[in-house]
Subunit: 289 residues, 2 copies
């Protein structure tokens, strides 16, 4: 008998963030319905950052869909810092307010750390106060920054274990790369952090079981940087030329190029992005149900 | 002509922490002499941890030698937390107090984070408040935990650059491994963090240009984990059997075994340890001269 062996190019499993976000949304709707009071999220915005407008738009629409009240406090760039801090203190003391988040970046003349640290830890649903970030070092309980939370939500949803795995994080920002790296350490992964000054990026990324790319650099990682069997999480949302269909984004990973090599990958759009918004509200409603 | 080639086993350069600490001590003495007021360090201790007694002893003797006043506030295990916090607040407001440190670990019934965060950032000479630790994520200015500070002090003293290097940190504790890893990222190193759940430790450590071992595990890394040309910093101070000469410590690296392979190495004792004490006082006197 002659056995014929056909080798087809394999294609990675797509880690579908859009579906996951919809599923979280459905669950959160149920939670809200069961509550005696409507949860309330305060979003603080300062200035006219267009990206901030887009992200806040996503959040407000999500809030409306799941039944969360949203207070959008928008200040001009010449607002006094004390006024913003006083308002956050007031919302912090207001028992009808469930969570408070400050949309970053703030204009340069504001003390971001001071403003963030005015949020009480229990209402810090974006996980950016010194208290929450310090818990990442200590492995303690605290809200995780929403992007980081989304990464772990996706991995958990697809039953991808982190314990003992080699995780390579590309990007070392304070809001994305570093919190993810610390959380992975807390989950007993061996963690490498690479960035723009990494000498041989491809050599490093190839060592990963789980490769998490959040450098904010369009198409940074391609075929040369991956190997068979890897799980790839692409956090990049880089704006690409707007066509007739409106604003388009693409990731840090050259998706098409690695699709037949790796085992699992998040697309952009439709990967980490939608789950990030959902995770903010997951934080908000945690402990309320 | 016949060229004869003799190959001698090379021996690593010893990164001499004892001499460096003495040199720092000399410099700090000069600083103190130049001041109009004697600097003052408050050391807070709770309970009867024998290791704590030893380390506080080192600090008090160093203080005496360089001319720093030392207030050793020692509380029993059944002291009220509020009393300790009130005292720290008082020292925080006292303009004659230059720095405040809490000797860790505290007994389990105390809220370590709450007590530490009572120290004003400007007096946090041990770099352990949430404020200081958060600056490690943001790459901002803050005091660095003394052990981490000592590692960078040694590297700088021996002109070993970190920028663009591959640093492997073994150990992921909140006081040693994680702060060192974050600081190395801020200094543009590619950083890997390994620990007891790392699958193939030797394979990881071999990728390092600079290998920093702070796992607290006697002789964890030996010949199998190093390669030619590496810089090895051993933070381990593991007690070994006390002989007639008194208490002895040994490192996390099997020193003799790697000495003819690596290019630079800190001994234990006489490496990171003495520099750690000196760095606490460097923090204390920073900005005073």
């Amino acid at each position: 008998m002659v056995l014929k062996c056909y080798i087809f190019p394999m294609s990675a499993r797509i880690l579908d963030g859009k579906s996951l976000a919809e599923s979280i949304e459905k669950d959160l709707k149920q939670v809200v319905v069961s509550l005696s009071h409507k949860p309330k999220l305060v979003i603080v915005q300062v200035g006219n950052n267009i990206e901030s407008d887009i992200y806040i738009g996503y959040k407000k629409r999500f809030a409306e869909r799941v039944g969360v009240d949203c207070i959008h406090e928008r200040y001009t760039e010449d607002e006094k810092e004390e006024k913003i801090i006083d308002d956050i203190v007031r919302y912090g003391n207001d028992t009808s307010v469930t969570g408070i988040m400050v949309q970053l970046p703030l204009p340069q003349n504001f003390n971001t750390r001071k403003i963030l640290d005015t949020i009480p830890p229990a209402k810090d649903v974006d996980g950016l106060t010194s208290h929450s970030l310090t818990q990442l070092l200590y492995g303690g309980e605290a809200f995780l920054p929403a992007v980081a939370h989304a990464v772990f939500e996706i991995l958990e949803n697809y039953n991808i274990s982190i314990f003992g795995k080699k995780v390579v994080v590309v990007g070392k920002s304070e809001l994305v790369g570093k919190p993810i790296a610390l959380k992975c350490m807390n989950m007993e992964a061996t963690v490498s952090v690479c960035h723009s000054n990494t000498i041989n990026l491809a050599q490093e990324t190839q060592t990963a079981d789980i490769l998490i790319v959040g450098a904010g650099s369009l198409g940074l990682v391609g075929r040369e940087g991956v190997r068979t069997g890897q799980v790839v999480i692409d956090i990049g949302t880089n704006p690409v030329s707007s066509g007739p269909v409106g604003r388009r984004v693409a990731g840090d990973v050259r998706f098409e190029e690695v699709l037949d090599i790796v085992s699992d990958i998040t697309p952009v759009p439709g990967g980490v992005g939608p789950v990030t918004v959902a995770c903010l509200f997951k934080n908000l409603l945690e402990g309320l149900s």
